[in-house]
Amino acid sequence: MTDLPAPLAEIRDDFLSFSEKDRLQLLLEFSNELPALPERYREHPELLERVEECQSPVYLFVEVSPEGRVDVHATAPAEAPTTRGFASILAQGLSGLDAAAVLAVPDDFPLQLGLTTAVSPLRLNGMSGMLWRIKRQVGEKSAA
């Protein structure tokens, strides 16, 4: 397994330490913890990127500071708690890292959480789509 940045490794280890049923409970906790969008994005929906891989309307926006620090913001409706949970894992696990560390996150991270049986690989596609889009935005914004 490729080395993960510490915050993501900690999230992965938390999931893997639980039974499959309790992993869903943990995902629900992440879902409840997804922070609201900062004011500046609530007023500017055009800045947000739609995650087409998700069945629910999920939008995200990535900031890279001049020093290369990444911040991930995401929004997803309350009727889509699984998707909110995925967005929250990525927002919490990637925000604060530097751009190079985000770009090095393995694309199969969503499959490392022990959720493929309980959640189905299909539903996990949505999380892979989010990760891919975050990495693409980080690449574009740190090259500029």
Binding site: Q25, L27, E53, Q55, P81, G85, V119, R123
Partner: protein, 299 residues
């Protein structure tokens, strides 16, 4: 024991009014002996965020599908599942779910494969219940295990396989996917994950009638007259027809299956659950692209 039917006037014009209950009826009958309410959703966590008091959850992916083979559980597996949910063979089951009852219809269709007699849908599903401000709880019920007999699944009545569809040309086929999927522009629903069909298009001769035409904006079913205009007049289905419905994995077409079989009373309707994820990847099956249904292949 069977719980009394919902006498709502809207339902009386349907062929089988006993297959639907309204949100008002359900709230009034919560806790009635012999009634179990089942929630079945696309989102695996939605039930946990709040559900109808007393409702149990049935997950299509982890509970109705076989874990290894692309198929449904067998008779023993279904009996175990029912038993754990507190459902006996004579229980009245009311199913509801998210997304206009797609997954609820799909669960109802799977219950039908096992011949469970009294299984109904909540008209409008979860969204309508929530929109009307009816009660929700996060308390998980703990039903006592009951006996449910092992009944072998009977796929002959309402399920079609690829071979059945190949032998079906000349009889009505309904493609319930979006128009982009039907024409072959995409192989999956807009904004849905790609589910891996290798070719785009539709089964030759299939009529395009997207599932959503059968639903009102609030997720309830359209009236009997409106449904009749769509399926009898436009899609030219008559009451003696043998109809097959399909979509991408069989969930949206369960919704249309329910409409044709239970609301319009077409006697023979089968759902092809292999749907486009099978057909669009199968070797040497005929495919039509574009907006026209296309001709039946010569045999």
């Amino acid at each position: 024991m069977t719980v009394a039917f919902d006498p709502a006037e809207k339902f009386q014009a349907y062929a089988h009014p006993e297959r639907l209950v309204s949100t008002a009826w359900l709230e009034e009958h919560l806790g009635a002996p012999g009634l179990i309410v089942v929630e079945s959703d696309e989102d695996v966590l939605l039930y946990e965020t709040g559900h109808i008091p007393g409702a149990v959850k049935v997950d299509w992916h982890t509970e109705l599908n076989d874990p290894v083979v692309r198929d449904y559980v067998d008779g023993a597996g279904f009996a175990r599942l029912m038993s754990a949910k507190g459902i006996s063979r004579d229980t009245t089951v009311v199913i509801y779910g998210d997304r206009s009852n797609w997954w609820a219809s799909y669960a109802l269709w799977v219950f039908t494969l096992f011949g469970h007699a009294d299984v109904r849908l909540l008209d409008g599903g979860r969204d309508r219940w929530v929109a009307e401000g009816r009660p929700l709880t996060t308390d998980a019920p703990a039903p006592a295990a009951v006996d449910y007999p092992v009944v072998e699944r009977d796929d002959r009545g309402v399920r079609a396989f690829k071979e059945d569809v190949l032998a079906h040309f000349g009889k009505p086929l309904i493609d319930v996917r979006s128009l982009e999927e039907y024409t072959g522009e995409r192989t999956h629903m807009p904004s849905y994950p790609q589910e891996g069909a290798l070719r785009g298009g539709h089964i030759p001769t299939a009529a395009s009638v997207p599932w959503s035409r059968a639903a009102n904006d609030d997720g309830t079913f359209r009236s009997a007259d409106e449904l009749s205009a769509i399926y009898r007049d436009e899609a030219d289905i008559d009451d003696s027809d043998d109809v097959v419905t399909y979509c991408r994995i069989g969930e949206r077409s369960s919704h249309t299956w329910f409409v044709l079989a239970h609301l319009l009373g077409v006697p023979r309707v089968r759902n092809y659950d292999g749907s486009w994820t099978e057909w669009g990847s199968a070797v040497r099956v005929p495919i039509a692209v574009g907006a026209e249904p296309g001709a039946a292949p010569g045999r």
